[in-house]
Every structure is written in C-alpha cells, then in structure tokens.
C-alpha cells in the first residue's frame, strides 16, 4: 500500500513489537536515521535484534539504542571501531549477542530477503571461521557457502528527499544500506530532509521506488504537516 507521510518520528515507528528485528541504515553516521532511532528509544520496544553495518558510534544514534539495554542481538559486519565503546562494554560483559557477517553477505542477504531469493551460494567467507557450520558446495572449481536472507520487521533508514508516493533519492555515500534495507522489511520507515509532491523527483533518478516505503517523516515539519 502507498506510503504515508507521518506527523512526527514517533508515528513512524509506532507499534514496533518486542522481539522485532530492526534493520538500521547507515555506514558509520552517513545515512544513520538518528531521529527514527531516538523515536524507537522513546517507543520502548525491547528484546530487539538490530541489523546494521556497525554497532554504534559515540553515544548517539544506534549507540544510544544499544545503551538502553533493549537490544538482545546485533548482526553487523564491523562492530569494533574507535568510538564503539557502548557496544564494546555490552559485548565484553556478555549482555549482547553478536553475529558478524561479511559486509557483502550482509548486503546480499538483505537483498535476497527483498527479492524473494530463498538462499544463495557465494564464495565469500569460504574456508574462514565465518562459514563454520554452513553448507558448502564446489561450483566451477570454487568453494561456495550457502547463505540465507535476513528479513526485518521494521527498517529505519535515512534518505534525502521523498515524494508523497514514497519515492526516494539519497545523497552521495549516505545512500549505502538504505535502498536494500527498504526492500527487506515488513514496515519501512524513512526520515528525509524534505518531502515534495508527486512529480517532484525525476522518474529516471528515483533510487527507491515508493512501493518499498510505508512511513515517511520529514525534518521540515511544515512540509510534512
């Protein structure tokens, strides 16, 4: 069903149940949907599984969500960074689970969820600890590992501009995981810099077609009113 422009960020994440799997866009802080994350913190859902490239930077955004103690598990490619102290402390004290996934497998498993692919064989990770226990098969003389989709209950992403149909464009490398996460979750919430009327985006340049978007919230409240 067509996207809806929400009055505020709280409305965009309303109804998230305990135990949900939440896909969180961004690569570091670029494309990080900070306002939606803050709304999810206020919303209060617990026992969450968070899927994101990193496990939080500094004390804001994803790190602030982790700090609430309401995240049971993180699925990511690169948790440990210079400023990932919130995650580090939770992990070292055994208060959070971690599944490390090669970044390309993370992206491709999200795509598979969005594209109806049941599983796929990839050479990434073959022969490494991250393929332990996984099914493997030699294809064209190369060992491949069988990987499964990662589906979300909620995706929270940041884009640059949305039109009222939910079509999205992004800015530079802040595009990163947004388009693929938008395809992979039952409910997709997007925070944007601004909303324009249908027809305000070039149809040739739309990156995420509106079919993938459920809830839009703009940083410019007067436009989203």
């Amino acid at each position: 069903m067509t996207a809806r422009v929400c009055a505020d960020h709280d409305a965009a994440v309303a109804g998230t149940p305990d135990g949900a799997t939440v896909l969180v866009g961004g690569f570091g802080m670029a494309g990080m949907p900070v306002d939606l994350i803050d709304a999810l913190i206020r919303q209060g859902a617990a026992d969450l599984t968070v899927v994101s490239n990193n496990a939080g930077n500094g004390d804001t955004g994803l790190a602030a969500l982790l700090a609430t103690g309401r995240v049971r598990k993180v699925i990511c490619s690169f948790p440990r960074q210079a400023d990932s102290w919130v995650f580090d402390e939770l992990y070292r004290s055994g208060r959070i689970e971690l599944e490390v996934v090669p970044q390309g497998n993370l992206a491709e498993r999200l795509r598979a969820a969005g594209a109806g692919i049941g599983a796929f064989f990839t050479p990434t990770g073959a022969g490494t600890p991250l393929a332990e226990g996984k099914e493997t098969r030699e294809i064209d003389g190369r060992v491949h590992v069988l990987e499964y989709p990662i589906k979300g209950d909620l995706a929270m992403i940041k884009a640059h501009v949305a039109d009222r149909m939910g079509n999205l464009v992004y800015r530079k490398t802040a595009r990163n995981f947004g388009p693929v996460m938008a395809t992979a979750a039952a409910t997709v919430a997007v925070q944007v810099d601004r909303v324009v009327d249908a027809g305000g985006l070039d149809p040739e340049a739309v990156v995420t077609p509106g079919i993938y978007v459920d809830r839009i919230v703009s940083a410019e409240p007067e436009v989203a009113a």
């Binding site: 067509t2 969820a113 969005g114 109806g116 079509n167 395809t183 079919i211």
Partner: protein, 216 residues
C-alpha cells in the same frame, strides 16, 4: 440470468482491489484481458500500476503524438507516465515482483485447479512454441494473485478443474478467480463461489463435477 461481460468482470476486480486496499494498492495487470481492469479503477483509488518491464505508476495507453517507443508496457503497447512514476531495470523489477511487494496481480488462465494451481503459459500442443515471459514470476510473487477468465472453454469444458491438464505456471498460487459466470475462491479449502452470475448452483455443481463447489 445473463453472464458478465469482460468489462463487468474487470469492474468487479477493480472494485475488489479498491475495497481490499483503501489506501491504494500496487497492482500488476497481466497482458491481454486483465489490462481492462485499469479502465475501471475508481477515481482516487490510489492504485499504482506496475509493469514488469521496469516501471511503477504507469499511465493509460499512449495515442498519437504521445507515443514514445521507449515507453511501453509488458504487452509492448505504448503507454504513458503518471506523476510519481519511477523506472528500474529488469532485475530490480522482477525482484520487486518475486519479493512479494505487489499487492495484487491479475492474470489470464487456461486452467485453475481447485487447490489454486495455475496453467496459463503453454497448451503443450505439439508444434506450439513455448513462451512464458513473466507469468511464473508473477504467479509466485504477488501477495494475492487473481485470475480473470471465462469459466468454460470454447468446447464447454470447465477451466476450474480438479488438477490442471495443461503445463503448470505455478503451484497453489491463485486466491480468486473472476469469471463471466461468477467469482470463486480456490485453495486448500477447495472451490467456493462468492457470487454466481448466469449459472445456478445446481448447474455449476453439475458442470464442475467431480469438484463440489460451495456457494456463499
């Protein structure tokens, strides 16, 4: 009691799409008769049409100076672009279909089985050149897949059958069948007539036997 015309069937489908998706639906209309549904969508329905060759928010057929050879639908008919349209390549378009993002797809059919199997791509006749297009992807991909067809073929044989005898397009993929003689649900619970038009419950049972359709 007269049967429904193609236009009436299309109007019924359009009505049901609008009723099921009051906030607007993403819909793919298969080539051939299902494209008629577009003409019956109520104003303000908010329905967004998808064409599998890479477009959302497709508009009506193009005529005269509006014809652009780079803007066609899946049936290769020139069409137009509505405000809020987007273009994407074939892998993205079929990912959209196969990933379950379309709300409704309407397809034509040779046969539908009581369990919801679909046969609509190939008669299997000797010498026929098989051509499947996107039918198998649409059949398994949309959230709801509806069929629009006549209930009986030209020889009078029913097209809702215990098991499809034509080569299959997809298994257990059909929700609902809109025909000239009524609308039917198919699936695990068997055949159920939602409404009949031009045929009595008794005649229906006789002609669909050994199927035993229930009537709502």
């Amino acid at each position: 009691m007269s049967t429904r015309s193609k236009d009436e069937i299309a109007a019924a489908i359009a009505r049901d799409i609008a009723a099921t998706h009051p906030d607007g639906a993403y819909v793919n209309l298969g080539i051939g008769q299902p494209t008629l549904v577009a003409d019956h969508l109520p104003p303000g329905s908010g329905v967004v049409l998808h064409t599998e060759n890479g477009m959302l928010n497709m508009g009506p057929a193009a005529h005269g100076d509006d014809i652009d050879p780079d803007l066609i639908n899946a049936g290769k008919v020139p069409v137009t672009e509505l405000s809020g349209a987007s273009y994407f390549h074939h892998a993205d378009s079929f990912a959209m279909m196969r990933g379950g993002h379309l709300d409704v797809c309407v397809l034509g059919a040779f046969q539908v089985s009581a369990a919801g199997d679909l046969a609509n791509w190939h008669t299997g006749a000797p010498g026929a050149i098989p051509a499947v297009g996107g039918a198998m992807d649409l059949a398994i991909g949309a959230k709801r897949v509806w069929v629009m067809m006549t209930l009986f073929d030209k020889q009078g044989a029913p097209k809702i059958v215990p098991e499809c005898t034509y080569p299959l397009t997809g298994l257990g993929c059909i929700d609902r069948v809109y025909t000239d003689q009524g609308t039917f649900e198919v699936g695990a619970a068997g055949v159920r007539a939602l409404e009949l038009c031009g045929i009595s419950a008794g005649e229906l049972a006789a002609r669909l036997a050994p199927l035993t359709p229930s009537v709502a």
